[in-house]
């Protein structure tokens, strides 16, 4: 990638983030229904919280002053005060980031590894039972609402087989003698949410891998490699795979929005104490400052992740680099 292109990409990402900030402001301040007015009327909001909101938004000032107050606060990392938790939004959110990263991170790694594996075999044995099965599997997982899949997993493994606990991250009120015991408890709670998340992703990754690899396998240089008399396995792993893997980076990046949606639903079903569950709680309590804070964090992270994938791609693929 040229330096100019890189600057352009960074600039676009920056503009998108700015647009997200403005959009967020408009959404919560200008749109009919005025959430702020609702916050003030909320019976759970104490005098202290209302005063906090008033100060935070600079309500007694002109709209442009309010707008800059909002931006200044954001850059200081001040997202307002949650009126359910009665604590700064940034603190409430920070405590929930790790569980979500744990869930999403491990599920992504599993899904990418398994998806690539299945995709390779499906492409290699095109038209076989496994290939048709992969297509069927991904079409079905694409069509199943994530939360419902979670419910079914819960019914089968927790209620029916009683293999795993139904909710949370740790057994409540339990104290652990050793770190190993704690990890074991965590693992028992984490298996189902992670498994559900992986199931949702594997189909798409496998299908993408399969389709790219089939495309690559029809390229001239593969024909050449075969003509040279290389073994089929050698051609597949040394010639086809390196190029076939590239689009996976893009797909994983594009999918992040989908993963966020999945995390919200899965965390809700399994009461996993992460950001997704927090967003669900904020939504149902109509805790607007908290909802706004999570929305902002999630959106900006997704924009940055896409930028990162773009840059990584251009470094790895020499055809894009030049």
């Amino acid at each position: 990638m040229h330096k100019g292109d890189m600057v352009k990409k960074l600039l676009y990402a920056l503009i998108t983030i700015l647009a997200v900030l403005v959009f967020n402001y408009i959404l919560f301040r200008v749109l009919p229904g005025n959430p702020l007015a609702m916050m003030m009327r909320n019976p759970r909001a104490t005098e202290e919280v209302i005063e906090g909101i008033r100060r935070f938004y600079g309500l007694d000032q002109e709209w442009y002053v309010q707008f800059f107050t909002y931006f200044r606060n954001l850059f200081k990392g001040d997202l307002g005060i949650s009126f359910v938790f009665k604590a700064p939004v940034s603190q409430v959110i920070a405590a929930r980031i790790l569980p979500t990263l744990l869930l999403v991170g491990i599920a992504e790694l599993i899904a990418i590894a398994v998806g690539i594996g299945i995709g390779i075999i499906a492409a290699w044995k095109r038209g076989s039972k496994l290939d048709v099965g992969t297509l069927g599997f991904s079409l079905v997982t694409y069509s199943v609402p994530t939360f419902w899949l979670g419910m079914i997993m819960l019914v089968i493994f927790c209620v029916g087989l009683r293999l795993f606990p139904t909710s949370g991250m740790f057994t409540p009120g339990k104290s652990f003698a050793t770190t190993a015991a704690m990890l074991h408890d965590l693992l028992r709670h984490a298996v189902l949410p992670i498994l559900t998340m992986s199931l949702v992703l594997i189909g798409e990754y496998a299908l993408t891998m399969r389709n790219t690899l089939i495309d690559v396998l029809s390229e001239d240089y593969i024909v050449t490699a075969r003509a040279k008399g290389f073994r089929e396995r050698y051609v597949l792993f040394k010639h086809a795979l390196p190029n076939g893997l590239l689009p996976m980076i893009t797909i994983v990046a594009i999918n992040i929005g989908f993963v966020v949606a999945g995390a919200i639903q899965i965390e809700t079903i399994f009461s996993w104490p992460g950001l997704g569950r927090l967003m669900y709680e904020a939504l149902n309590a109509r805790d607007y400052p908290l909802l706004q804070g999570i929305f902002l964090l999630v959106t900006v992270s997704v924009v940055l992740a896409n930028l990162l994938a773009d840059i990584t791609y251009s470094y790895i693929d020499p055809r894009v680099k030049n």
């Binding site: 069509s143 939360f147 419910m151 079914i152 966020v260 149902n284 997704v302």
Partner: protein, 289 residues
């Protein structure tokens, strides 16, 4: 395009659909659900407002209630059938809104090019990159939970992909000779976009519609499940919401939480199958060798 030529094309397309097993399965299942949505409520033995007595709560399937009763003593089958109407209606109208916005932005962007294109595509990218579920949750929370708000929220978040696809097709269509001829005889931009470009991007819009519809149905279900549906209507998503909230999963009331989910999967799967098959029929590259 001359009418008889277009008719021939449509017949050819329908023939291809009939020959394609996936498309045929999708079409048949979908048709069945649409018929149920339209005529089902007429044959329903119970009203969705028939709240039973205390002993009618969460009863398993029986000859009287074929799919049992829910946590409020209502017939699950009756709710399922009336849910078909609401879910398909929400999905349909939201899809129409998305396709309208997407097609308009795509054609205008592709046709005018330059600054207009640049501005509209940045706007489109913005909607493509923002994670859809948080956006919908935030919008629905602010606008309030009514049937039309849900439709609106799903409709205005789902158009970006369509706009992209329509734009690229418009770019190629506008270079064709008949467009140049229309310009040279003095046709206005509006006329060219409506009369020459729209009919030519239409097959693509049509193929995209089924994919957008699949997303719209899943979105409705998910939003309703998260508590953002209209509490006065019984869509499949609302049924699943109440099923989960009432603890039917741990109570083993499979007749309550399974049927709405299966219906959603079947409808979305048939849309997906149709979309996949349309892609195969229209895109010669993907045809089986």
């Amino acid at each position: 395009m001359h009418w008889s030529l277009r008719k021939k094309r449509i017949l050819k397309f329908l023939f291809a659909v009939r020959k394609n097993k996936m498309a045929l399965t999708g079409a048949v299942v979908l048709a069945a659900f649409i018929l149920i949505a339209i005529f089902g409520p007429v044959f329903m033995p119970f009203s969705t407002l028939d709240f039973g007595e205390v002993e009618d709560i969460l009863n398993p399937p029986s000859p009287k209630h074929l799919l049992g009763t829910d946590d409020m003593g209502r017939d699950v089958l009756a709710n399922l059938i009336s849910g078909a109407r609401i879910s398909l209606m929400i999905g349909g109208v939201a899809t129409a809104i998305s396709m309208g916005i997407g097609t308009l932005i795509g054609i205008v962007s592709g046709y005018f090019g330059k600054a207009v294109d640049n501005a509209l595509m940045r706007f489109t990218d913005f909607f493509l990159v923002i994670p859809w579920l948080p956006l919908m949750m935030v919008l629905a929370a602010i606008l309030g939970t009514s049937l039309w708000n849900i439709i609106f929220v799903i409709g205005i978040t789902g158009w970006a992909g369509t706009a992209r696809v329509v734009r690229s097709q418009t770019l190629s269509v506008k270079e064709r000779q008949y467009v140049e001829r229309a310009i040279s005889v003095g046709a206005g931009s509006g006329h060219i976009m409506a009369r020459h470009i729209l009919p030519n991007v239409f097959p693509l819009v049509f193929a995209n519609t089924v994919l957008v519809a699949a997303v719209a149905i899943v979105s409705e279900t998910t939003l309703s499940f998260l508590g953002l549906g209209d509490p006065t209507t019984a869509s499949w998503g609302m049924m699943l919401h109440y099923a989960f909230e009432s603890g039917s999963t741990s109570a083993g009331a499979y007749w309550y939480y399974l049927p709405p989910g299966i219906c959603v999967v079947l409808v979305v799967l048939s849309f997906t199958l149709l979309g996949y098959a349309f892609d195969e029929i229209m895109n010669p590259k993907l045809r089986k060798r």
